[in-house]
Amino acid sequence: MKEMNFLLAGVGGQGTLLASDVLADVGVRAGYDVKKSEVHGMAQRGGSVTSHVRWGDKVRSPLIGHGEVNYLLAFEKLEALRYVGMLRPGGVAIVGDQSIPPLSVSSGEDRYPDDERVGRTLRKVIERTHFIPSISLAEELGSARVHNIVLLGALSTFIEDVAPDTWLEAIEARVPERFLELNRRAFWTGREAVQPTIS
């Protein structure tokens, strides 16, 4: 593999950083050179959080160049729109179904893009977008918090040369014992949630 670039985008508190830790570790376990870089502003709650994860035989830059992302893993719909331009042609967006309105929206100055606009815009930029109802799936499993693992499960289906067990090992290394089963189920649920694309 020459290189594989993942951009994770979400809002502070959504579990983006844990997901990027897992993803980087999966790359290491699969034998790749790996770099990971977190980009976030000040430490307040509710800001945009992005994380760049790169796997490859030899990775140079810790940041992914504009237009060079293979997989965009968005935990929130507005953030998906914000970063979709980072994808390369043929790239894939995996988008969780959560909306977290910024203050300017909830105070009535801005509008949060509706699902129709989100879908239309994403399709305009890339061929393959997968909306995953990650929150509702996670809630069905017992906790909305594992939506990040649901999304990782969905992502894992695209990386065919890495076995699901490798992903599970990386997840298990970071999750307390009593949540292991929940996280395993979240991962498999995410894998099943990916439908073949109809284009």
Binding site: K35, K36, P62, G85
Partner: protein, 603 residues
Amino acid sequence: MRVLLSGNEAIARGGYESGVRVAAGYPGTPSTEILETLVRYSGVYAEWAPNEKVAMDVAIGAAYAGSRAMAVMKHVGLNVAADAFFYAAMTGMEAGLVVVSADDPFMHSSQNEQDNRHYAKFARVPCLEPSDSQEAKELVGVALEISEEFDSPVLLRITTRIAHSYTLVELGERKVEERTEPPSYRIDRVKYVMVPANARRRHPIAEERIAELRTFAENFPYNRMEMNGRGLGIVTNGVAYQYAKEVFPQASFLRLGMTYPLPEKMVRDFAAQVERLIVVEELDPFIEEEIRLMGIGVEGKSIFPICGEFDPHLVRQSAIRAGLLPASEAVETREVEETKGLPMRPPLLCPGCPHRGLFVTTKKLDLVVNGDIGCYTLGFLPPLSALHTCGCMGASIGQAHGVSKAGIAQKHVAVIGDSTFFHAGLPALLNVAYNKSDTIVIILDNRTTAMTGHQEHPGTGVTLKGEQTKAVAVEDVAKAFGIKRVYTLDPYNLKEVESVLRDCLAADGPAVVISRRECALLPEARKAWRPIKVIEERCNGCGLCFGIGCAAIVKSERLDEKTGRAKAWIDPLLCTGCEICAQVCARKAILFREQMIEEGESS
């Protein structure tokens, strides 16, 4: 064993492996995790000092006493510590001293993007720069060796991207013998007492040292030529090296791991072998100017920007514009109109932030406020717009004093956080008392250093190691300085805030107001979160509550029939129940916690 480490974790590991015994610093993004990681290793003493100058003196003292030492700070921290850094450059030490400076291109969390390599040149100190975490770890040990060989502090300069990127690191063992008995202190008055006569002796030594380091740099293994195509030769450093390697796979490289002083012969040799010589470096044209001083033609900042942070895209686009790469090398990107102008997520005071209660009141009283650096700086944002200056740590109190001496009739108010107060506010408050102004100094005591991620400080009673220590009370300090009017209040209680501030405004002489309430994100405070709610029928959408700038209270879909304005709604997932909105509501439409309980009981 190879593990993914951030640059900061790698520096801590490097400190441990290479036998650092004493480390001191003051929190500051992007450097904070270095000491937080280092303190967990056995055999290393690490502490938060009240400020960077103290931290630097502590590290220097340890190095004078024969222990390898490290001082850690963000770039602007070195301004605070500069005085100490300069004398250490004159005296040298008995054991290695590495000074870590974390610069912040793009100012992800800083007030400027100064390039601290200038400090190396300024003080005649060598400067090392890693390009990934592995090198960050190794260069700590290398810096200590250079420090000992050349009897000089060594500046290890990183940037945000190195500090906060994770790359693979090979772990090693700690290479230091544990002491069986305490070390002895070697006295050398001529070397260490920097009175003019001694300093005059030391200055030529510092100049000779840097000349010797120039020679040393020629064979320094972290300076290396990577020859490839001869059309383009790139001199580069730090993370910019990674970007350039990716963008110019055909070019030849001179990668500098030591950016001051430069290996002149190596640079000449490299320049002679390539047709076009460019420098790819973030921030200032530091290497570029050094090369130009050698009389060698070189380009750099005519191609790549001075301001901001690089990334592969920026380097590529700049290169194409300058004709270094053909336009066909551009990466295909897809700009879509619909993704422009999306609502942003700017930083805000968190729901439940105790600073809010203070600012709501200073705004109501229409006070001009000299501010400082910390979470509370965000009080400058609308709708509060309640803070009117922010320059550097500790500036607020001196400024407010100066404003009053300039003859402004209105009483002057300085607002400063607790950690910032202990950092640089103390002498400024002493000045208010000693030189007599009517300044009102408000200390926002949220019991932590919140902005950088909740570090301890002298007011909290706990050390970096987690040990109990004496907590200093700001009240006692203010009184000891001779300030008579000292108030302590709870910023969640708006009536109390207003009455205290009115008292201060009415009286003559300085006043200190301690606004004390734990940061809402601290574990103990979180346990007390109890969301409150709006009684929809009572709300007429007047919007007073929106004026407090809290993300938890927002416009709902429901409009008031008479006024047509959106009624307020409280997001129970965000609300902590600080009741500030409930206190500003003129229609008693927001329930207080107690009313919530009563309501719960009755329903």
